[in-house]
């Protein structure tokens, strides 16, 4: 099966690979895995006081489509508010990367990862308020 040029570009030059300190209050970490293919994805966001995502990092162990989906997503979420980022749908990622039907689950994984990261960030804020 042939990968699209966009997938190959992200696979060969992944954007924003890396990690952040998950214990920082302004960092949200989302981890998801797809048991069917064994892919594992970690996506992290750094959020400023205005609720805007300033930076995003990812680490994905998986196929080219999973790496490309998470790489693309980190590019997309930078500069977006949490609400805007949570509206990103897997179908947009799949369309942009021209993923074939058998690889659509990689984009689902990326969508689940950003949702998990946002919810992790929000839960930290609540803990802080409770303890304040």
């Amino acid at each position: 099966m042939a990968y699209s040029d966009k997938v190959i570009d992200h696979y060969e030059n992944p954007r924003n690979v890396g990690s952040m300190d998950k214990d920082e209050l302004n960092v949200g970490t989302g981890m998801v895995g797809a048991p069917a293919c064994g892919d594992v994805m970690r996506l992290q966001i750094k959020v400023n006081d205005a609720g805007v995502i300033e930076d995003a990092k990812f680490k994905t162990y998986g196929c080219g489509s999973a790496i490309a989906s998470s790489s693309l997503l980190t590019e997309w979420v930078k500069g977006k508010t949490l609400d805007e980022a949570s509206e990103i749908k897997n179908s947009q990622i799949a369309e942009e990367l021209e993923l074939p039907p058998v690889k659509v689950h990689c984009s689902v994984l990326a969508e689940d990862a950003i949702k998990a990261a946002i919810s992790d960030y929000k839960s930290k804020g609540q803990d802080q308020k409770k303890s304040a």
Binding site: V32, A34, P35, V40
Partner: protein
């Protein structure tokens, strides 16, 4: 569904259980394969031949399913009405995923030399131990019949699938090192 369609366990005369004696399974598999061998149908009608080919495929599929600890668990869960969606069933257990990422990082950092081979060996032992733990828990969960046990069994099975992938990748690394020495 066709009323003559037997479940995979019944086909081999085995009870529906996660504990399968692989020797008995292989023995019954070979016996069944003999009954549908093409040589036996050399002079048979087209219809009989067609049925024997279908039967052989069914026997093969059943054998492959029951032989694999992962496919066997899934088959039992599906028999009990647990649904699987490979496109959407994602694992979100953070502790487990954290461990997966650490194990994969450890695998990626293994140097391609003699020392790497040693490190790889101990990593593989570590993974194997986790696989055994998950498999034995899975066996216990599948012997219960509550919804809760089935849900936990499904999540346990998913964890095993990640470990299986990790084992395959560890084998690839082992081969790479062996080829480079």
């Amino acid at each position: 569904m066709n009323t003559t369609t037997q479940n995979h366990f019944a086909l081999f005369g085995l009870p529906v259980s996660y504990e399968v004696d692989l020797n008995t399974l292989s023995e019954h598999y070979r016996e069944l394969q003999r009954t549908v061998h093409p040589d036996k149908f050399a002079n048979a009608s087209n219809q009989e031949r067609r049925i024997s080919v279908q039967k052989a495929a069914q026997i093969n599929e059943a054998f492959q399913t029951l032989k694999s600890p992962i496919r066997r668990a899934r088959y039992i869960l599906e028999m009990r009405g647990v649904e699987f969606d490979d496109q959407r069933d994602n694992t979100v257990d953070p502790m487990f995923l954290m461990e997966q990422i650490e194990l994969r990082e450890a695998l990626a950092e293994i140097p391609k030399n003699d020392q790497g081979l040693m490190k790889l060996g101990s990593l593989q032992d570590d993974i194997q131990q986790k696989v055994q733990q998950l498999t034995s828990e899975l066996g216990e969960l599948l012997s219960e019949d509550s919804d809760e046990a089935m849900n936990r069994a499904k999540s346990n099975l998913h964890k095993l699938q990640f470990m299986d992938k990790l084992q395959q990748e560890a084998e690839n690394v082992e081969e790479d090192i062996a080829n480079s020495l």
